[in-house]
C-alpha cells in the first residue's frame, strides 16, 4: 500500500522526507562503506534490491479472494539488516514509482518512512525478540514478515489520518477510518506474507545454507555435511 503522488499536502510531504532522511542517509553510508571495503558487494546489494523489487511481483492468493503482493521488507531486514534495507527499500520505492506507477515522488519520503524504515525495524525487532526468547528460525521469520507488514500498514494509515483528519472527530476518527478500510487487504496480507516467509526459508535452509551463514542468519555449522569444497571452485561448467 503506497501513498499515491499528490495525496499528501506539501507540508506533510516535506516533513516525512525529513523524517526518513537520517535513516536513508545512514543506510547509504553503510552501503558506501561496505562497497569501499569490498567492491563486489555492489553486485550483491544490487541483486538484493532487484530481489526485493521482484518479490513484490509475486501474487499471493488471499482467503478473501482478492490477491495482493508481499512487501518483502521484513525478509530484507532479516537477510540484510534494517540500515541497509532503509536504503534498498527507498531505491525500490523509487523504482516502483517510476517503473510501475506505484507510489509517487513527493510521497517518496512518507512511503520510505513506513516501508523502508518502520517496517524493517519493527520486523527485525520482532525477529530478534522471537529468536532471543528461544523461538526457532521459522517462527522468527514469520514474526518478522508479518510484523513488518502490519507496522507498515499502520504507519501508512496514521500518515493518511494525520494529513486528512476527520471533519468531526479529528485525527483519532480518521485513524480509525483508514485503519479499518485498509485492514481488509492488509491484515490477510501480513499473515500471508509471514507464511510465505516460512515456506521460503524451509527451502532456503536446504538450498542456500552457505549464503545464510554468510549473512549471519544461520550460525556456521562446525562439521559440514559435504566434503569441504575450496572457495575457488565455482567453475561448474554448463
Amino acid at each position: 500500500m503506497h501513498i499515491a503522488e499528490g495525496f499528501l499536502p506539501p507540508a506533510h510531504a516535506i516533513g516525512w522526507t525529513i523524517a526518513a532522511a537520517p535513516f536513508v542517509v545512514h543506510g547509504a553510508r553503510a552501503v558506501a562503506k561496505e562497497v569501499r571495503e569490498n567492491p563486489e558487494s555492489t553486485l550483491l546489494l544490487g541483486a538484493a534490491g532487484a530481489f526485493t523489487f521482484v518479490l513484490s511481483a509475486i501474487k499471493l492468493p488471499s482467503i478473501t479472494g482478492s490477491s495482493s503482493h508481499p512487501t518483502g521488507t521484513g525478509l530484507g531486514a532479516v537477510l540484510f539488516r534494517p540500515p541497509v534495507m532503509a536504503l534498498l527499500g527507498t531505491v525500490v520505492l523509487l523504482f516502483q514509482a517510476l517503473l510501475l506507477a506505484h507510489g509517487g515522488l513527493t510521497t517518496l519520503g512518507a512511503n520510505a518512512f513506513s516501508m523502508a524504515v518502520i517496517g524493517p525495524w519493527a520486523g527485525y525487532a520482532a525477529y530478534r525478540l522471537v529468536r532471543r526468547s528461544g523461538g526457532g528460525l521459522l517462527p522468527g521469520v514469520f514474526a518478522a514478515m508479518a510484523v513488518a507488514d502490519l507496522a507498515t500498514y499502520v504507519t501508512t494509515a496514521l500518515q493518511l489520518a494525520w494529513a486528512h483528519p476527520d471533519a468531526a472527530s479529528g485525527f483519532g476518527g480518521a485513524a480509525a477510518k483508514f485503519l479499518s478500510v485498509f485492514a481488509f487487504t492488509q491484515v490477510p496480507l501480513a499473515i500471508g506474507e509471514g507464511l510465505l516467509g516460512v515456506l521460503l526459508f524451509r527451502v532456503l535452509v536446504v538450498n542456500a545454507r552457505p549464503e545464510l551463514e554468510r549473512l549471519g542468519v544461520l550460525r556456521r555449522t562446525p562439521e559440514p555435511d559435504q566434503a569441504p569444497v575450496p572457495e575457488a571452485t565455482p567453475g561448474a561448467e554448463r
Binding site: 555492489t42 511481483a57 536504503l87 506507477a101 506505484h102
Partner: protein
C-alpha cells in the same frame, strides 16, 4: 515479455534522447504545480498538460499511459472516499464539504501521478540514476541502483518462467498448492539472485573491475528551447491558476 510497459515506453519515447535534466525540470515543475496550485484549475491543467505532452510530442502509446494512470486510481479513490466520510457521534456520514474535498484530493493526486508518469514514460531509469550523482548521492549507491535496474529484468524473467513451470505441474491449483509454490518460487529467485551476483562479479573482474562500475557517460545535451518553453509553460500555469 516480462518487459515493464512503462520502461518499454521510456526507451521508445521520442524524448528518449532529450536531456534527463530537462525532463526532470518539466515533470518536477508539473508535480509541484499539481501539489501546490488549487485543484481548480491548477491540477486539472497540470493533468491535461502531462497527458498532452506525453501522447503528443513524446509519442508515448496512449494504451500504456492510460493503463499506468489507472494503477494508483484504486488507492486514490478509496483514500479520498475514506477521507471525506465523517465519524460523528451518530455514526458515519458525509463531511460538510465532502464533494469539493474529495474532488480536490482526486484532482491533485491524479494530476501529480500523470506528471510523474510523464517523466517515467520518457526517461529510462538508467538515464535518471546519473542525475542522482549530481544530487550528491554517493557513487556506490548509484551503482547499486544501476545493478538493481539491470538485474531486475533478469530476475523478472526467471520469476515468470519458474511460475509458469510450476503452474504446468499444478503448482498453482488451489490456495494450498499456490502458497507452497510461491514460497519455493521466492526461494528460487532469491538463490538465483545470489548466483547471478556472484557470476557477474566474476565476469566483471575479467573486464578489469577494480573499484567501481565506471562507464562512459552518455551525453544528452540540454535544449535551451525546451527549458525556455518549460519555464514559460509553468509560469503560464501558475498565472492562470492565480487569476482564476
Amino acid at each position: 515479455m516480462t518487459g515493464l510497459a512503462i520502461d518499454d515506453a521510456a526507451w521508445a519515447s521520442a524524448w528518449r534522447l532529450r536531456s534527463p535534466a530537462d525532463k526532470l525540470l518539466l515533470s518536477g515543475g508539473l508535480v509541484l504545480a499539481a501539489l501546490v496550485l488549487p485543484a481548480w484549475p491548477g491540477s486539472v491543467l497540470v493533468g491535461l498538460a502531462a497527458v498532452v505532452l506525453a501522447l503528443g510530442p513524446a509519442r508515448v502509446p496512449a494504451r500504456t499511459f492510460g493503463r499506468a494512470v489507472r494503477v494508483p486510481l484504486a488507492f486514490i479513490l478509496i483514500g479520498a472516499l475514506t477521507a471525506v466520510v465523517q465519524v460523528g457521534d451518530g455514526g458515519l456520514g458525509w463531511a460538510p464539504d465532502a464533494a469539493t474535498q474529495a474532488g480536490g484530493l482526486v484532482a491533485h493526486a491524479v494530476a501529480g501521478s500523470a506528471a510523474v508518469l510523464l517523466l517515467a514514460t520518457t526517461t529510462p531509469m538508467s538515464d535518471l540514476l546519473p542525475a542522482l550523482h549530481r544530487l550528491r548521492v554517493p557513487d556506490a549507491v548509484v551503482e547499486v541502483a544501476s545493478v538493481t535496474y539491470r538485474m531486475l529484468f533478469v530476475l523478472l524473467t526467471s520469476l515468470s518462467t519458474i511460475r509458469e513451470a510450476q503452474a504446468a505441474r499444478m503448482g498453482h491449483a488451489g490456495i494450498r498448492n499456490s502458497y507452497r509454490s510461491s514460497g519455493m518460487l521466492a526461494a528460487a529467485v532469491l538463490t538465483r539472485s545470489w548466483d547471478r551476483a556472484r557470476r557477474l562479479s566474476d565476469g566483471l573482474a575479467g573486464r578489469g573491475m577494480e573499484t567501481g562500475l565506471r562507464v562512459l557517460p552518455e551525453v544528452l545535451p540540454s535544449s535551451p528551447r525546451f527549458v525556455a518553453s518549460t519555464l514559460a509553460g509553468l509560469a503560464a500555469l501558475v498565472t492562470v491558476s492565480a487569476l482564476a
